[in-house]
Symmetry: C2
Subunit: 327 residues, 2 copies
């Protein structure tokens, strides 16, 4: 089982308009309301790929009721912790003429210290029996980087590899706590590590304590840097640019990392993805290829959390190269 | 008691952004979710002005639960008819830099024939003991103009004056059924009557069967045309342009009409607002002044359904003139 943890979930509302004209009134078809947040999207992708998954999130207020109802109908196994603050909303208005999405992300309402502690304890309890745990998205007010670090460290000690996709101090705290894999995008990595180049930023996170850093680079694909490869990094990209909805691309990459960890032949010690051997390098190249293809397959779909059926063909198209990472 | 009927209510979601940039991602504070739809806004204004009011609307789905929760907390007396389709959403994104609101209005989910019949029967039942009934907003799919006409006619026969604020075939049906007052805006009036000038359009509605037509003209104020005045119309406007949120201005004008009808000394036959006497003309001029001031006071408020405390001062500023209406 793969556990996904979403500390700051959202009710995702999506509307499609012919053309978004600021200041104008638009008559539109009913929008879609879905349970969202990065960890929920990761769980959707994994569920769609027939991985056994359990999604853990908080939920509150009327928006939380809608969130729970939609997640219940999705067929994804989940555990929702009731909290006092209402589940935040995230709004996307998709302009059908140019394909652009205008997005409003509400800040979360925040967790009380007791709610944060319950979330960490529940994630540890459920995560102990998982093959891997993915902790995804922003941290709501009240959920401190220390809480994230404790969660990562406890699971690591229990031999469960953790993937973290967050930004800011949380990203640094997760690296320090020994997260197995981190998945920042270029901007998040630069902001958190204060390194201009993605390779430099990735190395900084490895030095802090992570084993593997996957940097998503948008249309330029992604970069995989691992401790096992020492000074070498893997670059993977699709040789053409896809038009579509980029919102779920990073989540698809996280799902690919979690899937690779869950599929390791020998869970626990001695993971192939972490091995300084030709087999290890091959496993990392395979991951780079799949994560790139899944990200691209997510771009082709209208809503985050699903992959285009073309993902297999896309995987064959991905170009993987090994590049020296400057020390 | 004033009854407001909202056949096509909405959950109104409002967000404020510093600057709305199409295609960009914006971090925003939590939006406001309010029970909305024109009849609900009219009820809010009347409730705020300490009129006894009862708001009748349909409600369905998760959005309907949020709608009911917010309306319950507002203190406005209400009666909600459960229906199968979910309550639609209406989205407003207010750009704080230029004050413009970008609006998305979802079409309603539609009513079944049985739900439409129940709504009409309930409105008649409650409306019989009302001093006036305001029926406001668009008609959802499945609620035919015939249903609106039956409601207007039955209440009229029971001696209860009805104010209708709708557009298209519903506006024509309401005039034919003998609605006491109609409150189209300039565009709605032109579209429904196919008359270019507001005065011509208003006369057409009077000829069909209405007693009084109030045409809202945006920053140009409004026009009151009545059967009692024969070929004379009243124009009212504020001598300066207000910046603000125009969404609730028309609803405030409807509230002013309903309040004027509810305050008539002798409910039933022989209303002052309908009298071809100097007192009648004065009552209509008073209404024009108040409806203009309340509309302006609504523009000054961030959310539809409330009036600025300046409404009294604004009323003193309104300029009222009598103009010949071309026959």
């Amino acid at each position: 089982m793969i556990l996904t943890v979403t500390p700051n979930p959202a009710l995702d509302l999506t509307w499609h308009v012919d053309r978004l004209v600021p200041g104008a009134t638009h008559r539109v078809a009913a929008g879609a309301a879905r349970a969202g947040g990065k960890g929920i999207n990761v769980a959707r992708v994994l569920h769609g790929e027939r991985h056994e998954v359990l999604a853990l999130a908080t939920v509150g207020g009327g928006t939380g009721d809608e969130f729970a109802g939609e997640l219940g109908a999705s067929g994804i196994r989940h555990r929702l912790l009731p909290v006092a603050g209402p589940t935040r909303r995230s709004v996307a208005i998709v302009d059908e003429t140019n394909g652009e999405a205008s997005v409003l992300n509400e800040h979360g309402a925040g967790l009380t210290p007791a709610e944060s502690a319950t979330l960490v304890a529940t994630a540890i309890g459920l995560g102990r029996s998982a093959r891997t745990v993915a902790i995804c998205g922003s941290l709501p007010p009240g959920f401190e980087p220390d809480g994230l670090a404790a969660l990562v460290a406890e699971l690591g000690e229990a031999g469960v590899p953790v993937v973290v996709d967050t930004s800011g101090p949380g990203l640094i705290a997760a690296a320090r706590a020994g997260a197995f894999a981190l998945k920042p995008n270029r901007e998040e990595l630069a902001a958190a590590t204060r390194r201009e180049s993605p390779a430099d930023g990735a190395l900084a996170l490895l030095e802090l304590g992570a084993r593997l850093v996957v940097v998503s680079l948008g249309a330029e694909g992604l970069m995989v840097v691992s401790r096992a490869d020492a000074a070498a990094g893997i670059r993977a990209r699709l040789p053409r640019v896809l038009r579509g909805n980029a919102t779920g691309a990073g989540d698809a990459a996280v799902a690919a990392i979690a899937a690779a960890l869950a599929e390791e032949p020998e869970p626990g010690r001695g993971r192939e993805l972490d091995a300084a051997t030709p087999a290890g390098a091959e496993a990392r190249a395979r991951l780079a290829r799949r994560a790139t293809a899944w990200s691209a397959a997510a771009v082709l779909m209208p809503l985050a959390g699903s992959l285009s059926p073309d993902r297999g063909a896309l995987e064959a198209e991905v170009v993987v190269t090994t590049a020296e990472v400057p020390a």
